[in-house]
């Protein structure tokens, strides 16, 4: 077995825009997807995630660079000669065929014997819990059931890699969450590599072993959900995944493991911050801190504590979002509602003076962009 199930090496895909300009839809992308991994490409529309997936499937060919599947360079290999299968966003079910015939389609194309087709289709339909639906036409199924047929149709071929292009986009939220867990379970049972394209960060976080965050045709960061959330590589990732407070600053001093950043907006300094590679003293930086990692405290700590005034609060059930003005900056803080209370007086009120504490390990220094 090759080191990687799928590898993209310095891949570029150019398209001609309607205005006649060349656009790099995928711009020098390199990624390695391990065997048996649930890998997601995450980004907003036009970030190049679907185009990357289509190049793996063989529907598009790279303008530059090369796609490898199981270590083999794909070149201009057509889709039907690649050991990958796709679950399409619109499902792309054959409306004139029954559920059974849809799932059997790929096996018939291989020329598998009839009794083997029967056995494998039955097994695939069991896997996606559609036993008994064999003779229905796709139109007679619900959206979720159609989605399962699409998955069964691709999985029955036992591909090395299953490609999924926003497969849950058309389902409602509750069903989508169920299907997320089901797909993840299926992937773990089968041990097949899944490459999953989505614009929904929560979906990517829920399902993936690793995520590639993409923007403007480039990979912004690749890593586990924890790495991407806790150590975003740049401001784009910190902003795209979850929420963050961004503060402009300048590095005042730098030692081997601690940095001090002057933040004019807070009219203060942040001290004891963790140091990442490539920072120099005097550099302009952006400081990022997640709203749920800021504490509202009763008394000042000796480090990174700031008094501010509550400007607004929003109760959303699990959390209360508190907006606090410190210096000239409005800081967003998420407080978990750990105790059930009805009395409005027990929540923060507008105009109240509070103390915000930003623990050094929660503050990230990012390059200014």
């Amino acid at each position: 077995m090759a080191d990687f199930a799928v590898e993209l090496r310095d891949v570029v895909k150019q398209f001609l825009t309607p205005e006649g300009n060349l656009l790099n839809a995928v711009d020098h992308v390199t990624m390695q997807i391990k065997n048996g991994e649930f890998f997601s490409m995450l980004g907003s529309s036009g970030c190049g995630k679907t185009t990357s997936l289509r190049m793996i499937a063989g529907f598009e060919w790279p303008t530059e660079g090369e796609v490898y599947i199981e270590g083999k360079a794909m070149g201009h290999t057509p889709p039907f000669q690649r050991k990958v299968n796709t679950v399409f966003q619109s499902y792309a079910l054959f409306q004139h065929l029954t559920v059974f015939q849809n799932v059997a389609f790929g096996l018939e194309m291989e020329g598998a014997p009839k009794d083997e087709i029967e056995k494998r289709v039955k097994h695939a339909l069991e896997m996606v819990q559609l036993t008994g639906m064999e003779r229905r036409k796709p139109k007679q199924l619900s959206g979720g059931q159609q989605q399962r047929v699409a998955v069964a149709r691709a999985l029955v071929k036992v591909p090395d890699v299953l490609l999924l292009d926003e497969p849950l986009g058309a389902l409602d939220l509750k069903l989508r969450k169920e299907m997320q867990l089901e797909l993840k379970e299926l992937q773990q049972q089968l041990g097949i590599t899944f490459v999953y394209v989505t614009h929904d960060q929560e979906e990517a976080m829920t399902m993936s072993d690793r995520i590639a965050v993409m923007s403007k045709g480039k990979v912004q960061q690749m890593g586990t959900p924890v790495e991407i959330y806790e150590r975003p590589a740049n401001r784009f990732v910190a902003d795209f995944i979850g929420e963050s407070n961004f503060l402009d600053g300048k590095i005042k001093s730098l030692s081997k493991d601690e940095a001090v950043v002057i933040v004019p907006e807070l009219n203060a300094e942040l001290t004891g911050l963790p140091v990442s590679a490539g920072l120099v003293s005097g550099q302009d930086v952006t400081v990022s801190i997640r709203p749920e990692k800021i504490r509202i405290a009763d008394k000042r700590l000796d480090q990174n504590s700031f008094t501010g005034e509550v400007k607004n609060t929003v109760y959303i059930g699990t959390d209360t979002h508190v907006f606090v003005d410190v210096g000239t900056k409005r800081i967003k803080v998420f407080e978990q509602n750990r105790i059930s209370r009805l009395d409005p007086g027990s929540y923060y009120t507008i105009g109240q003076q509070v103390m915000l504490v930003m623990l050094p390990e929660n503050v990230l220094i990012l390059k200014k962009e």
Binding site: G58, F80, F88, Q95, G106, M109, K157
Partner: protein, 307 residues
């Protein structure tokens, strides 16, 4: 009154359908009933209809003349059956040829860049701006002995010093077939295009993804999904070709007589509306039978997809 109509949905429906319904009753149902009544009548010596009940017109169509003693072998003349059979085979051949020509073109247009599709469809429709009869006459100019095709061929033969005798193309069954195919081609292209255009590109990709070559994709996916268009086109072509008499009149002369010509001559030349009516009804019944079996096998347009 108006208030009550607003609340009465069935009455609204009837009111909306009324003009068409009256039109159909007055100009389709009643004439059809008249035609069937006349077909059982007898022609008077001066060409009027004597209303009675006789099957003479139908036995005559089958080839048994009433003028001579029945049972005599020489009395049997299958001329009319031959005409009916010729019409049927011509309609069949025309439809097959039209599908063969229209399908690739419709496929090409459906897969062309969306911006160019309308231009191509426009080009398909342009001939329909000219009168039907004039278009048939144009074929006469092309096909006759001193026509464009023979002139060009003669000129080409002259260039390479080969003796050339003009081809006899006009007034042949081939000329009628060419004319029919030309006249009815757009009516096949448009419905096939419509059903092909509806096939989402992802279906072709899914087929390729599942291991189907281009040829297999066509037979297993493209063709079945475009069958509603082929069926609709076949109905639009087959039925009128069965009854049209202008094309065979102009391009077939006296050589190619179809059931349409037969009917026309009975009403205008022979002045025998009773026999003409019988022939009309037989034509209609034949067409209905063929269409019935055809649609039972292939379905009516959308049904294939919806089922």
């Amino acid at each position: 009154m108006l208030q009550r109509l607003r609340e009465n949905k069935p009455a609204q429906g009837t009111l909306l359908a009324a003009p068409t319904l009256l039109w159909m009753i007055g100009l389709l149902i009643i004439p059809l009933l008249l035609t069937s009544v006349i077909s059982f009548g007898r022609r008077s010596p001066d060409g009027d209809v004597i209303f009675t009940f006789t099957l003479d017109n139908y036995t005559r169509l089958l080839g048994y003349s009433t003028d001579c003693d029945t049972g005599q072998a020489s009395c049997f003349n299958p001329l009319y059956m031959q005409i009916l059979w010729r019409s049927l085979t011509l309609a069949f051949n025309t439809t097959v040829l039209v599908i063969a020509l229209a399908y690739p073109l419709a496929y090409f247009i459906a897969r062309a860049h969306p911006k160019r599709r309308n231009t191509f469809l426009f080009l398909v429709l342009i001939p329909l701006w000219t009168n039907f009869v004039i278009r048939v006459y144009a074929w006469m100019m092309l096909l006759r002995t001193q026509g464009v095709i023979n002139l060009v061929l003669g000129w080409l033969a002259g260039l390479i010093n080969v003796p050339f005798a003009p081809l006899e193309m006009l007034y042949t069954p081939g000329a009628v077939l060419v004319g029919m195919v030309y006249e009815f081609l757009p009516f096949m292209i448009l419905p096939i295009y419509t059903s092909l255009e509806k096939i989402d590109n992802s279906l072709y990709e899914a087929a390729a993804d599942l291991g189907a070559s281009a040829i297999k994709t066509f037979w297993r996916v493209t063709l079945p999904l475009s069958m509603p268009g082929v069926v609709a086109g076949t109905i639009l072509v087959f039925i009128p070709v069965m009854g049209t008499f202008i094309v065979s009149d102009i391009l077939g002369g006296r050589q190619v007589i179809l059931v349409g010509n037969l009917i026309q001559r009975q009403f205008l030349d022979a002045r025998d509306p009773t026999f003409g009516s019988a022939a009309s009804l037989i034509l209609m019944i034949m067409t209905l039978i063929v269409t019935y079996f055809y649609t039972r096998k292939f379905g009516f347009g959308e049904e294939i997809v919806a089922a």
